[in-house]
């Protein structure tokens, strides 16, 4: 116990004396949390639209005015030449073309249906999907209006259309920032737990002090505990710090129990620290370690569901995700904070991570050798 305490004092002194590490731990996450939350947004505003109106009718103008009224669209070009609009799309001056052909209104009257063309720049598929759904929404509203006003005496007009009024639970205003912020918090906690622990261990290996420690009667568990505990505490502190920041800046909701969140984070950190420890046992230099850690971080992060829903990944990818600790935490932090899930709702994730922690720590500790 006394030996462990001696070692812990040493670790904390070294961490707080490191001039690079402190800003790394406290300033960078703040920058990230603020910057990424605002920047990595899936809300689109100012979609640039070109309108090709070859009909010049009341019906076509009504549709255009609908788009003009929307805060999401801005009209960059109004023309009757389709090719002109297409060249604007090609040179990336507009994102989408709305094309109404000659006879748009006439056909609508005569046949009670008509068609229009939407050309979307799909270089960025997510963006294209969003543009499409925004447009569909506006056209649907337009449909409703036309039916009500023009065909009111008609049989078809009498038929009430189904009107969907969505109610978004757990994030009623669909505030994307809240969703992003919780995700970024997960990444930061992971980064500190995994990367800093591993770097610290490999740095001692490079400096040669590990060898000196290995000839002393220190037990492996004492040394490793002293290495892991500080970063666990710092990562937990970082979580608390982030939650406060999120509350103040973005009004981050905290519906569920914070105690449960911290308990889950502790288990999660055991897994992450275990991975960091394991990586440090198989690398000799900080360079090797950085490369490996980078690989794992990127893979874990992009598969975790931070940007795209993990549930919509193909089944084989979801199987791989069983090994991705970040995916568990990503899901659970949002469940607890936004939805107020209790322990009963996260038991599967909780016990999975407990097993994961046991396995990875056993592997890492066995792989850490005092004698080669």
């Amino acid at each position: 116990m006394r030996i462990l305490f001696t070692l812990l004092v040493k670790e904390f002194k070294q961490i707080f004396r490191n001039r690079m590490l402190l800003p790394l731990m406290f300033v960078l996450p703040v920058v990230q949390m603020i910057l990424l939350t605002y920047a990595a947004s899936l809300e689109m505003k100012g979609i640039r639209m070109a309108v090709v109106d070859q009909d010049h009718s009341q019906a076509s103008r009504l549709l255009v005015s609908r788009f003009q009224g929307s805060p999401f669209f801005e009209m960059n070009l109004a023309t009757s030449d389709y090719l002109e609009a297409l060249s604007e799309l090609t040179s990336d001056k507009v994102d989408v073309i709305l094309h109404m052909q000659h006879g748009f209104e006439k056909k609508l009257y005569a046949e009670k249906e008509t068609s229009l063309q939407l050309v979307v720049n799909a270089i960025n598929t997510t963006e294209a999907g969003l543009i499409n759904s925004y447009c569909t929404r506006i056209v649907n509203d337009y449909n409703g209006q036309i039916r009500a006003e023009w065909f009111v005496s008609d049989g078809a007009g009498m038929m009430k259309t189904l009107d969907i009024i969505p109610k978004y639970w757990y994030n009623p205003l669909l505030d994307y920032k809240i969703y992003m912020f919780s995700g970024i918090l997960v990444i930061i906690v992971t980064l500190i737990g995994m990367l800093l622990t591993a770097l610290n261990l490999v740095r001692e290996k490079e400096m040669g002090t590990t060898e000196q420690i290995n000839v002393t009667p220190i037990r492996k568990y004492q040394f490793l505990l002293a290495k892991l505990l500080p970063f666990m505490i710092i990562a937990l502190f970082e979580l608390a710090f982030g939650l406060v920041l999120g509350r103040l800046l973005f009004g981050l909701p905290m519906v569920g129990s914070l105690g449960l969140l911290f308990l889950f984070t502790c288990i999660y950190l055991l897994v992450v620290l275990g991975i960091g420890l394991f990586l440090s046992t198989i690398s000799q230099t900080q360079q090797q370690l950085m490369f490996m850690a980078f690989f794992f971080m990127i893979t874990f992060m992009l598969m975790s569901g931070i940007f795209t829903p993990a549930d919509s990944m193909p089944p084989w990818a979801q199987k791989i995700n069983l090994l991705n600790p970040v995916a568990y935490f990503m899901k659970v932090i949002r469940m607890i904070l936004l939805k107020g899930s209790g322990f009963g709702d996260i038991t599967r994730e909780f016990y999975s991570l407990c097993i994961y922690a046991t396995l990875i720590l056993t592997l890492a500790i066995t792989n850490y050798r005092k004698t080669t």
Binding site: T6, K10, Q14, N18, E211, N214, P217, K370, T371
Partner: protein
């Protein structure tokens, strides 16, 4: 005459890395309280053998006893009784002189009070009282080496292993360093030292000379000079290495 105690006993020590044999059937013993010089050119296998004795590395085969314990089964017991100063500098650069002393003393389980008195005595003897709160990274190499040695014997081990302790320091500091080694033996500590400075071999009670993984000669410096008809240890070494 009292029977001399063998504090290190090595019989047929072999260490292989793949097909390369770093230590080829080494057999020797070290007597309690002596300064045992472990000589050889770079790459002769000195450090490899020393790491095995310290419990840092597994031998491929052979019987090895250190301080009465078997290196296969009782490494942790051995570690309590030895001190070690590696070739690579082993103090923490970002801790102060005093913090380093306390850290290592704490690791060996010394009591707080005990540490405080011994630290005071040590710093006074080394003339480092004024710099006790300076970071290791700020003090000159020679001082660091002396401090590293003092830290290695702070817990009063039975044996101290020194791996090329005087690499890169000036002749005056080297001289002072060897005085410290002598003082340590007065306290009953056995010294096992590797070096490739042949003049330092003269300070040892007995030396072994390794060439390409084998011990080619082992005796007192005087006997070796006589055996190889040489003026000094340098000549002895050159004759052996060129054989």
């Amino acid at each position: 005459m009292v029977q001399q105690e063998h504090i290190i006993e090595v019989k047929d020590l072999v260490k292989k890395f793949g097909s390369f044999t770093a230590n080829d059937r080494l057999s020797f013993h070290v007597e309690k309280g002596e300064i045992f010089g472990f000589l050889g050119a770079n790459g002769a296998g000195k450090t490899t053998a020393m790491r095995i004795l310290c419990g840092l590395s597994y031998p491929s085969s052979g019987e090895i006893m250190v301080a009465g314990h078997d290196v296969y089964r009782e490494r942790e017991k051995i570690k309590k009784k030895i001190g070690y100063m590696s070739q690579k500098f082993s103090l923490y650069e970002d801790l102060t002189v005093s913090e380093n002393i306390r850290l290592y003393a704490g690791i060996y389980g010394l009591r707080k009070k005990q540490i405080a008195t011994r630290e005071e005595q040590l710093l006074e003897r080394l003339g480092m009282l004024q710099i006790r709160d300076r970071f290791i990274s700020e003090i000159p190499l020679g001082w660091k080496q002396k401090l590293a040695f003092s830290v290695a014997i702070f817990h009063q081990p039975a044996i101290v292993f020194l791996d090329e302790p005087t690499g890169g320091v000036d002749p005056i500091t080297r001289r002072q360093f060897w005085e410290m080694i002598h003082d340590a033996t007065e306290e009953g500590i056995t010294v096992f030292v590797t070096t490739h400075y042949m003049d330092e071999a003269e300070y040892c009670d007995r030396v072994s000379i390794m060439v390409e993984g084998r011990i080619e000669a082992l005796d007192t410096p005087a006997a070796l000079k006589q055996q190889f008809e040489s003026e000094n240890m340098n000549e002895v070494f050159l004759k052996l290495a060129r054989k």
